[in-house]
């Protein structure tokens, strides 16, 4: 990004915030479809799942589901069928053998209450502790960025409306998804993006 005019900056920040909700929806979908095992095309395979609560909203209404695995709760899927999308949740991930837990606000892509498996304490060495915590935070951020990159490729492709939304609808209704077909389609779209970036 180069220097942006203030008006362009403000516009970009506010542009299509609903895409954050759709990203969270897609994470939820993939986490269930692949039994928590996610594979970002430019990151490391890792495990991610929604935990303890999820809030879904449409313009007029909000549904909050609290459960051990809230994504599996019938009320959560029902809210999707009512046209609501996830706006906030708690997420857990296992990355590099270590567990990360955080809350996620979809409209801002904002992370809160992130617990990282840092080993050093600030009382021992302030800057080494900071380095340790930042390294772990950035490791997780890189994974999430890689997932977002894949999601955006899918979202901008014509196949989103044609094939992926119908899959999401079937999933929200507890129906079978052709996992192999979805994986093939995703790989094709993400591969196309990677080729474009490489050229």
């Amino acid at each position: 990004m180069s220097n942006l005019a203030p008006a362009r900056t403000a516009e970009l920040v506010e542009l299509n915030r609903f895409v954050g909700r759709e990203f969270l929806l897609w994470l939820w979908f993939e986490s269930e479809l692949y039994e928590t095992n996610l594979t970002p095309s430019t990151g490391e395979p890792f495990s991610l799942w929604l935990e303890t609560q999820i809030t879904l909203a449409s313009e007029a209404e909000e549904t909050r589901v609290k459960a051990h695995m809230p994504g599996l709760a019938p009320e959560a899927k029902q809210a999707l069928r009512q046209g609501k999308l996830p706006i906030a949740t708690k997420i857990s991930a296992i990355l590099g053998g270590a567990e990360f837990r955080w809350s996620f606000k979809a409209d801002q892509l904002a992370i809160g209450g992130l617990k990282v498996p840092a080993e050093l304490k600030a009382e021992e060495d302030k800057f080494e502790a900071l380095y340790d915590r930042m390294r772990l935070t950035e490791l997780l951020e890189a994974q999430l960025e890689a997932l977002y990159r894949d999601f955006v490729a899918l979202r901008l492709d014509a196949a989103w409306e044609r094939s992926i939304v119908p899959d999401l609808r079937r999933w929200a209704r507890g129906k079978e998804i052709d996992e192999k077909l979805y994986a093939k389609l995703k790989s094709k779209i993400v591969g196309k993006r990677q080729k474009r970036e490489a050229s």
């Binding site: 929806l25 409209d107 892509l109 302030k126």
Partner: protein, 217 residues
């Protein structure tokens, strides 16, 4: 909870602009010039903000070793604000007003006299109180040009963006679905497609509703 201990709550910002090669040399003087300055009870200012050291908002003697650590720039935004409890101000104001009325032998104060009295009482109370101090850490990775700022509050975002720009002559662009997509380098065509997106809904549309009805029957 900040960069050094506890759980991490932060907003990500993309640093926009040309970062000088010798950032420390180019900016240390300006960082010090924007270091936090204490509030003065006799000033009209109700709030003041500036840079302080990460982990110690009362350390405003900002040396190179406190700010630059390998690829990281670490600072804290310190915000001090006078916060006089309204009930305390009201009680002191009533007492002061009573004294003036008795001294002058009048029954009521004019609007301007009341405002002057409020100003005087406020400053007197400020001298007896300490401002409320808030400090929010900022950690900027020079390799990625991404900064983590440990607050989600919009008002605090506005303050750090303004101070960062004044100090480094670079912009802080908050992460959002739009800015992250842009940061990942969308082509002009893809940017246009992104801008034109319509929200997805999984609610039953006509076709799906008909299918559901058919399945139920």
């Amino acid at each position: 909870m900040g960069a050094l201990r506890g759980s991490l709550t932060f907003s990500r910002f993309f640093v926009v602009g040309d970062v000088p090669e010798d950032l420390a040399g180019a900016t240390l003087k300006r960082i010090r010039a924007q270091a936090f300055q204490p509030l003065d009870p006799d000033e009209d200012l109700i709030q003041r903000h500036g840079w302080a050291a990460v982990d110690d908002p009362f350390d405003t003697e900002l040396g190179h070793e406190k700010i630059f650590y390998n690829e990281y720039v670490t600072l804290a935004l310190r915000v001090d604000r006078w916060a006089i409890p309204p009930a305390l101000l009201k009680a002191h104001l009533r007492e002061a007003e009573q004294k003036v009325l008795e001294k002058k032998g009048i029954e009521k104060l004019g609007r301007k006299a009341k405002l002057d009295l409020k100003d005087m009482v406020t400053k007197k109370l400020r001298r007896q109180l300490v401002p409320v101090t808030k400090s929010v850490d900022l950690v900027w990775n020079l390799n990625t040009n991404v900064a983590l700022f440990f607050s989600h509050a919009q008002k605090t975002h506005d303050l750090v963006q303004e101070l960062f720009e004044k100090t480094f002559r670079l912009q802080l662009l908050v992460e959002s679905p739009g800015t992250l997509a842009d940061h990942q380098g969308l082509s002009a065509e893809a940017s246009g497609t992104f801008a034109d997106l319509e929200p997805t809904s999984l609610a039953s549309d006509g076709a799906v509703a008909a299918l559901e009805k058919e399945l139920q029957s």
